[in-house]
């Protein structure tokens, strides 16, 4: 018989290390679950490629003169929209999965089992999305590479790393929205609709799919304050204009505080919702 004494870390640093190690178990669990749904797993990729084809043909009808220039060069519509497609898909997937991660635990009845383990609620929350937070950015990067190769897009290779840094600064912002959404879902059971609607509006007015100059002046001004606009522009500049690290600093300087606020608010909302559900005894109900 193997040793079964509970392994409990003591001291902040040891607890942090012990809790961090548990994330690997969540990643393995979620990979196995995702892999058990092979068709949707593959279908997601096929869907993304089909979407790229669709935008390619739409791009053939778009007058490049109406697109902004990057580094003084004219870009094709597909080059312009590729970053937008990738980022919008990232937001939709990440937001959806972060929000639904806890909901799934609640629906399938595993949430209480998780809470019965000596694992902090924060680890459970992070654990329920860590696989997606690793997988989706990788998927976004691979998608950009594939369509760049397939359609001969002229991305600047040296811009990949700066673009990735902008994406990294942006991830906690989406994560925070997702966690807040998960909290509202715990409370209202179907509360994710509001945040889903909000994110759709933000994506629409982000310049992901069309230049913001096409909007009325005051809407353009508002849209430029949109965190998604900042992330899209922050990724386009190094990839399309070859601006390297120029401009990345500004995007990161804006995105990091926004991400901190979003993630903090999300975690607080979720904790409040979890405590409320436990107090009411309705955690296992859906």
């Amino acid at each position: 018989m193997t040793s079964v004494a509970p392994h409990l870390a003591h001291g902040r640093a040891a607890v942090f290390r012990a809790e961090s190690r548990k994330l690997a178990a969540f990643v393995r669990r979620d990979f196995l679950i995702a892999w058990s749904y092979r068709l949707p797993f593959v279908g997601e990729w096929v869907g993304l490629v089909l979407q790229a084809f669709m935008f390619y043909f739409v791009g053939l009808m778009v007058d490049p003169a109406k697109l902004p220039t990057f580094g003084g060069s004219q870009v094709s519509y597909l080059e312009f929209v590729a970053v937008g497609i990738a980022l919008a898909a990232f937001i939709a997937l990440a937001l959806g999965r972060v929000a639904s991660g806890m909901q799934e635990e609640q629906v399938t009845g595993t949430l209480e089992s998780l809470l019965m383990t000596p694992t902090s609620p924060t680890t459970i929350q992070i654990g329920s999305v860590v696989y997606d937070l690793l997988y989706i950015p990788i998927r976004t990067g691979v998608f950009l590479v594939i369509i760049a190769l397939a359609f001969g897009l002229d991305f600047t290779l040296s811009g990949l790393l700066p673009a990735a840094v902008v994406l990294l600064a942006f991830i906690p912002f989406v994560w925070g929205l997702g966690v807040a959404s998960a909290g509202t879902t715990l409370t209202f059971r179907r509360g994710s609709g509001f945040i889903g609607l909000g994110s759709s509006v933000l994506i629409l007015f982000s310049g992901a799919f069309f230049p913001l100059d096409l909007l009325p002046g005051w809407v353009t001004t508002l849209a430029e304050l949109n965190p998604i606009t900042i992330a899209v522009d922050g990724m386009r500049e190094p990839l399309l204009a070859g601006s390297g690290w120029d401009g990345v600093g500004r995007a990161v300087a804006v995105l990091v505080p926004l991400s901190v606020v979003s993630l903090t608010a999300g975690v607080l909302t979720f904790r409040w919702a979890l405590r409320r559900e436990r107090r009411q005894g309705t955690l296992g109900l859906y």
């Binding site: 393995r28 998780l114 902090s120």
Partner: protein, 314 residues
């Protein structure tokens, strides 16, 4: 080790628990008995910190359960009543390994422990099968294995053997008995009266959120006064229905008697009046020239006790 005092809990207008107290010592198995809706699951959930009581205090290992810190959760195992607490898209082995790692075991330790437990609960052959393909009984066994991942000091089991065949149920009780013998405190919530005899050290019987009885199984049996018996009478060639009027006359005022609906032709159901004595009633049947061949309680003593105390006479 487990201490609940004056626990009350309402869900909207419904009172789930009303001033319930429970004590479980080290090495003791306490059966939490009661029909559906009696409050057993709510009490288990209060004791595991999943539900906050409106009033009263619940402590496990001296710690308030509502706070339920990591130290407490590390030493407490729960087998929930439903069968939805597992990841059905992954194997039984992977389920146990996952929860083992959340208990702080390394991957290697979690895997070794998972195999041990799968062997113990008889699921080793199905270890790599997706748990969604398990039967309810197999899922319950997996759930029990999960609760034993880190030999807990306190084990809460809600309807553990509900879906198990008799052999598996016995094996589960032996497993839990072994854990209690090694010092664990066990709360065993069930509505199946027959499984607590010879197993539980004490019984707390809940009825609509209140404690209706608390004591040992023998004490539970002692509070029951059986009033219904199946008697076997030698009635010659007469059909049971033909004999009924004469038998009714013989026991009139002290009992009612009727042919048993689901027994042999010679079986009759005797229902004693409040103050009647069984021996006297049987003597009056004998005096009426009826041979009483056998007599037994319609239900077991323990079943009678349960039904009396749980508020049902049927």
């Amino acid at each position: 080790m487990v201490e609940a005092r004056g626990i009350s809990r309402r869900f909207g207008p419904r009172v789930a628990l009303d001033g319930v107290s429970l004590l479980v010592d080290e090495g003791e198995i306490v059966a939490l008995l009661g029909p559906n809706g009696a409050g057993k699951t709510t009490l288990v959930r209060v004791l595991t910190g999943l539900v906050k009581p409106d009033a009263g205090e619940a402590r496990v290992l001296g710690i308030e359960t509502w706070d339920c810190p990591r130290e407490l959760r590390a030493r407490m195992g729960l087998v929930p009543s439903g069968d939805r607490s597992l990841y059905l898209r992954i194997s039984g082995l992977e389920n146990l390994m996952f929860f083992g790692r959340l208990h702080g075991l390394s991957r290697r330790e979690a895997k070794a422990r998972a195999w041990d437990l799968l062997e113990i609960v008889g699921l080793a052959d199905a270890a790599r099968l997706r748990s969604g393909f398990y039967s309810h009984g197999m899922q319950k066994r997996l759930s029990i294995a999960r609760a034993l991942l880190t030999e807990p000091s306190v084990l809460m089991i809600d309807e553990a053997t509900h879906d198990l065949d008799p052999e598996a149920a016995t094996s589960m009780r032996d497993l839990v008995r072994g854990l209690a013998d090694r010092g664990a405190a066990v709360v065993w919530a069930t509505q199946r009266i027959e499984e607590i005899r010879g197993f539980a050290d004490r019984v707390t019987l809940l009825r609509t959120g209140e404690v209706a009885f608390e004591g040992t199984v023998s004490q539970l049996v002692a509070v029951a006064v059986p009033r219904r018996y199946v008697v076997r009478l030698r009635n010659g060639s007469a059909a049971a229905r033909e004999l009924e009027p004469a038998l009714q006359d013989a026991v009139r005022g002290r009992a009612t008697i009727a042919a048993a609906a689901d027994g042999d032709a010679e079986d009759f159901l005797l229902h004693l009046a409040e103050d009647a004595v069984l021996g006297e009633v049987l003597a009056s049947l004998t005096a009426a020239d009826v041979d009483v061949v056998a007599c037994r309680e319609e239900r077991s003593e323990i079943e009678n006790a349960y039904l009396n105390l749980a508020g049902s006479t049927e």
